[in-house]
Symmetry: C2
Subunit: 295 residues, 2 copies
C-alpha cells in the first residue's frame, strides 16, 4: 500500500475515533447512564469502515472533509446501534463484540435497547442538523443513508437473517439478505459522501456499483472469517453461524470458492474505481486492505 | 364543542387513519413479516394526537394539509415505535395495548424489536423525503421532531422511567421525566406543524408554551386514568403504575390535586391559544376533548 495513502487512512480513522470519543461526554442529567451506554458501544473500537467510505467518497471531489465529518459520525452511530440490537438476547444473544462485553452485558437489556434506539435517533438528529447547514445535497445524502438503514435496507436484511435461523435458505434469499443487511449501508456510505462532494450522476452510478461489489465482498469475507478467523483477533465469538445453523456463503459454496469470489469482487471494485476520473488511489488501497483483513 | 370543529377533528383523524392503513400494504419480500408487524401496531387504533396537533398547527396558517400529511404519519410511526419497545419484556412487559395483544405477543420479541426500529427509521425516511420536496422549513420542522424523540427527549425520559421503577423519585425528577417522555414530542408536534405552515417566531414561542402545558396536562391525565380508568375503555391494563411501584403525579399529589392541576393547565392552554391571532377554535376544542377524555 502507498505510504501516503496509508497515513491518510490512519489520519481519517483517528479523526473519526476522536469525534466519537467526545460526542457523548458529560451529556444528560437524570438519564446520564443512557449517554454512557451509547458512548460505551460507540467507542468499543470499530473499524469505522462506513464513515471512512463516506469521507473518502467526499474527498474524491473536495478536500475540507471536516465540513461533513458529522455525517461520518452519524453513520458510525447507525452501525453501532444495529450491533447493540443484534446482540440482544432476543436476537443473536452475543456476549462479546469488538473484544468487549456487549452492551446489554454491561448495562442490562432495557438500557441496551434504549441505547440502540438513541444512537439511531441521534444519527438522524445529526443528519437533519447538517442538512440545515449545508442544504439540499445533504438532504439527498441523508435520505440515502436513512433509506439504507431502514426497513427496505438493513432492518429488512436483519429480519431475513432472524427468520433464516435453523433453516436452509437458497442463494437468492441469502444474497437478498446480505445486500440489505450489510450491503445497503456500505453502498450508501460511499454514495452519500460523493453526493456531499458534488459528484456527477455518472460518477454516482459507478460508485454505487463499487459500493455494491464492496458490500458483497465484505460479507463473504465476514463469513470466511467466521470459520477461519481467531476469536481473539476478531473480538467476537467465531463459528457462530455454524452453531446457529445459519446459511452463509461458506456453507453454500465452501471456503475455497468463497475466497475466489472475494478475489473477483475485489478486482471488480478496483475496476469501477478506475472508471472515475479522480484520484481514487486511497479508496483502492482501502478496498484491498478491507478484503485482505484477518479481523 | 362546536359542531364544525368536531367534524374537522373527525375528518383529520380519518385521513391519518387512512394514511396509516395503506402505508405498509404489500411491502417487502422475504422480509414481508417485518412490514406486517409494523402495520399491525400502526393500525391498532391510536388516538393520533401528535399527527392531529401537527396538522392543526399547520392549518392555523395554511389550508392544504395534505401537502404535509406524510409528516403527520411520521409522528404516528415514532409514537408507535416507542410503544412497541416500551411494551417489550425487558421494559414494561405489557401484554395489552390499545385493546389488542402487544406486538411481541403476536410477532415475538425479535420481530417486535425490529418493527420498532423500522418504524423509527421509516419515520425519518419520510421526513427526509418530505424535506427534499418542501425545503428548509421542513428540515427545520423535522429536526425539531427528531430531537424531541431522541436521547435528549423521549428516549431520555424513558430511561428515567425505567431507572425509577421500584424507587421513589422527587417531583423535580418526575417532571424532568415526563417533560421528556411525553411532553417533548407533543410540543414538537404543534411547533413543527406551525413551522411547516410558516408561523412567525412570536407565534412559535407561544405555541411552544401551549405544547408544554398540554404535554404536562396530558401526562397528569394519564396518571389519573391509570388509577380511575377502566381497562376495557383504555385498551390497556390499569393500575400498572402502582404495581410497578412507580412514582406518578397521583402518588405524589393525590387524585384531587391532580385533577385541579389538570384543570388549571387546561385553562393555561386555552389562554396561550387566545394569544395567537388566528382561528384557534379547533385546537381549543381538541385541547378540552383531550383533557376531559375517559380513555
Amino acid at each position: 500500500m502507498n505510504k501516503d495513502n496509508c497515513s491518510t487512512i490512519e489520519l481519517l480513522k483517528n479523526e473519526i475515533d476522536e469525534w466519537c470519543r467526545i460526542y457523548f461526554v458529560n451529556k444528560g442529567s437524570y438519564d446520564s447512564i443512557l449517554f454512557k451506554a451509547m458512548d460505551y458501544s460507540l467507542n468499543a473500537g470499530g473499524k469505522r469502515i462506513r464513515p471512512m467510505l463516506l469521507l473518502l467518497g467526499y474527498m474524491l471531489y473536495k478536500k475540507d472533509y471536516r465540513t461533513i465529518i458529522d455525517a461520518a459520525g452519524a453513520l458510525e452511530m447507525i452501525q453501532t446501534y444495529s450491533l447493540i440490537h443484534d446482540d440482544l438476547p432476543c436476537m443473536d444473544n452475543d456476549d462479546l463484540r469488538r473484544g468487549k462485553p456487549t452492551n446489554h452485558k454491561v448495562y442490562g437489556e432495557a438500557l441496551a435497547l434504549l441505547a440502540g434506539d438513541g444512537l439511531l435517533n441521534e444519527a438522524m438528529n445529526i443528519l437533519f442538523n447538517l442538512s440545515s447547514k449545508i442544504g439540499p445535497d445533504c438532504v439527498k445524502a441523508a435520505a440515502i443513508i436513512s433509506n439504507a438503514s431502514g426497513p427496505s435496507g438493513m432492518i429488512g436484511g436483519q429480519t431475513v437473517d432472524i427468520l433464516a435461523e435453523n433453516k436452509t435458505i437458497d442463494i437468492e434469499e441469502l444474497t437478498y439478505m446480505h445486500k440489505k443487511k450489510t450491503g445497503a449501508l456500505i453502498k450508501a456510505s460511499i454514495v452519500a459522501g460523493s453526493i456531499l462532494g458534488g459528484a456527477s450522476e455518472e460518477d454516482l452510478n459507478i460508485l454505487g456499483l463499487y459500493g455494491e461489489s464492496l458490500g458483497l465482498a465484505f460479507q463473504i469475507k465476514d463469513d470466511i472469517l467466521d470459520v477461519t478467523g481467531e476469536s481473539s483477533k476478531l473480538g467476537k465469538n467465531t463459528k457462530t453461524d455454524e452453531s446457529n445453523n445459519k446459511t452463509t456463503f461458506v456453507s453454500v459454496y465452501g471456503i475455497d470458492e468463497c475466497k475466489e469470489m472475494c478475489e473477483k469482487l475485489s478486482h471488480k471494485c478496483i475496476e469501477y474505481l478506475g472508471m472515475i476520473k479522480r484520484d481514487t488511489s486511497i479508496l483502492k488501497d482501502l478496498t484491498v486492505k478491507l478484503l485482505n483483513r484477518v479481523s
